[in-house]
Symmetry: C2
DNA sequence: AATTGCATGTAACAGGTTACATGATTGC
DNA sequence: GCAATCATGTAACCTGTTACATGCAATT
């Protein structure tokens, strides 16, 4: 049920349409909580039904409309309640470590491919998050700017500090994953070397 | 769809019942892939329908039965295919970092509570994984023992090495999370101190 | 006039969670 | 005789994914 709070967090910076939210999901909050558009639109409806947000229809051109959603007082309270409630941690479900635990069942080559892909995967994430960190420092992220615009100036440093803190955590996590997989590559090589010592294949 | 491969991984050490598997999920593979019993029994049926496993009914007492599942050749091949196929990474969906990004919306006290809980959460995981590491070193984990029993001795070191590698990764991840949250606590304190410098509350 | 981007959704399905439901066996 | 635990599931629900579906507006 975090989707609704991710949406509320964005909407608390000011009204946005489903489409706006969808885009933000791919660049800002999407870095910590992915959601496809097919999930966002129905959820917005439910949030409206629950009184957390209020739609405002806007005319676009001759016949087009777009719906801007405003956070209601109820919605604001719901967000703050969530912030102050114990977080529900998700059960572990980690395909990479699941596979890692059984790498002995495949060849060193396949193990290497798996580990290289793991490194690639996390390097991509790392790149995104590092870029986001520099954007935060430059106060260049559109959502952060929106957020600061509706925040008293005395709170600006705090707001930025927590965003930075969040992305620092993500960056460290990515680095940890990469280092782990790199040690895995060394392990695969070491095991292969040991095996070929015991049973040389290419020798006479 | 990793559940089925987690189940196959366990069954490849020899036949087990749904109940056995359920227990293993809470102590071995469950450390990387959680699954409740209500998911395991239906999945075993589907795996039987798909020809990956073969049930063997066993009499228990006068009327009780238990069903042992054996991996078929098809099942074995399916597992190895999975091992050699690109891993499907899950989209990021991280409630802790989502909340961290908006900690400025709550009080320092609530932020502290959140961070302390995060530390507690990961310390629990860390403890489990560290215990598992010592069990691996002592060759004391029942599933590892089963696994080694059906593995040629020349492969024992490899098998143990990858298990160790897996849990080392989990341990590092937990440590990274804990360190991050501890830095978060310092940040909250620092921000509170700065705020009370600018607007002293307890003073005359 | 065509392309890109804005804007809104529906439907079918897969995967996972929670709660419910039942009964037998074994050890004390 | 009772408790623990072995052993098997069903049902309803929620969340998320993938694919499909439509059409206007602004720019080139």
């Amino acid at each position: 049920m975090s989707l609704r709070y991710a949406l509320l967090a964005l909407l608390r910076t000011g009204p946005l349409s489903g489409y706006d939210l969808q885009k933000q999901f791919s660049v800002s909050v999407g870095h910590v909580w992915h959601a496809p558009d097919s999930q966002i639109y129905p959820e917005l409806r439910r949030m409206h039904v629950d009184g957390l947000i209020e739609p405002e229809e806007q005319v676009r051109g001759v016949r087009g409309t777009r719906i801007l959603y405003h956070v209601t007082e109820t919605g604001d309270a719901a967000f703050l309640d969530w912030m102050n409630s114990p977080l529900e941690y998700q059960r572990v479900r980690d395909p990479a470590h699941l596979r890692a635990a059984y790498l002995e069942s495949t060849s060193p080559e396949q193990a290497t491919i798996f580990l290289l892909r793991h490194i690639e995967q996390w390097r991509d994430e790392l790149g995104q998050w590092e870029r986001e960190l520099t954007r935060i420092d430059a106060v260049d992220n559109p959502m952060l700017v929106r957020r600061l615009a509706v925040t008293p100036e005395s709170e600006h440093a705090r707001t930025i500090a927590f965003k930075r803190f969040t992305y620092e955590g993500l960056v460290e996590r990515a680095r940890t994953e990469i280092e782990w997989a790199e040690r895995g590559l060394e392990l695969v090589d070491r095991l292969s070397a040991e095996a070929s010592l015991r049973a040389p294949a290419g020798d006479a």
